[in-house]
Symmetry: C2
Subunit: 164 residues, 2 copies
């Protein structure tokens, strides 16, 4: 525990690359956030090539899966805050990837539709993302990839539905 790490440091050391710490390399939260950062960079780059961000893809994907939905429902399904939904939908609507229509049965709600153009854009983004996944998982064989997905899914499921 309270070991005093008075390591004699050599001034003029020439670290070639980036010698990563030791404590952190076994800290799950550190590993998660760091790998997530790498993943995020890959995804951002992949989507950025098509002028999209993570929220754009997430909303299009959610919309394609659930069908037309209210903004509140979209938020619940995609895990995006109501307020961020608004801004993202504005972007998507400006590019005609999405259409807002009033819900005749509830004048508070908008029913959001994905347009054919939006569906095409989603396909494009999906391809870009698939490539990014491959780059991300490059060092893992198929078995390890499935294992990783399994473990992460376990964590996500557990922390999403606290139930009690």
């Amino acid at each position: 525990m309270g070991t005093t790490n008075e390591i004699a440091y050599s001034h003029r050391m020439e670290h070639p690359s980036a010698p990563t710490p030791g404590r952190l390399r076994t800290t799950p939260s550190w590993l998660l956030t760091q790998t997530a950062a790498h993943a995020g960079r890959l995804v951002t780059t992949a989507l950025g090539a098509h002028h999209a961000r993570g929220y754009h893809y997430r909303l299009l994907a959610t919309l394609a899966e659930t069908g037309p939905a209210s903004q509140a429902d979209l938020g619940r399904h995609s895990g995006i805050d109501r307020s961020d939904i608004v801004a993202t939908l504005n972007d998507l609507a400006d590019r005609h990837l999405v259409r807002r229509e009033p819900d005749p049965t509830d004048r508070r709600r908008n029913i959001v539709h994905i347009t054919p153009t939006g569906r095409r854009e989603l396909t494009t983004l999906q391809h870009a993302l698939d490539t990014a996944q491959d780059t991300l998982l490059a060092p893992l064989d198929p078995t390890d990839r499935r294992e990783l997905v399994r473990l992460l899914d376990l964590l996500l499921t557990h922390h999403n539905e606290p139930k009690g």
Copy 2:
């Protein structure tokens, strides 16, 4: 591939909690960023109770491991940008957890020392973080935990040293 997902949606559906999408649940980058978000919340909360943020802990931990170091070296070891190092060190120095001294052999550099108080604070933060790790990994048995760490470490190592 291009399957048209025209799912008939039931207006007035009463989703109790948050029905997560399907495409995303098998997308590694999504799983990573989402679990990382959960991890981040836990860490932020844990550290926040002691008025610290991630950068504060990272710097203190790095400092304790490497011993006194220049700010540039700290940045390289911790993976934090030079400019962010400055601000974080300002915070830490204000709370006397860290001390900046001029490097007599190189007047550009500061040699940053962790103070005894800083070391105590680090221990406190470490405890808080350890607890957070347990909360994070709650649904995983020891074998799965080791497996997760192994896989994430593989990814991190691969993406950190591109070698080429």
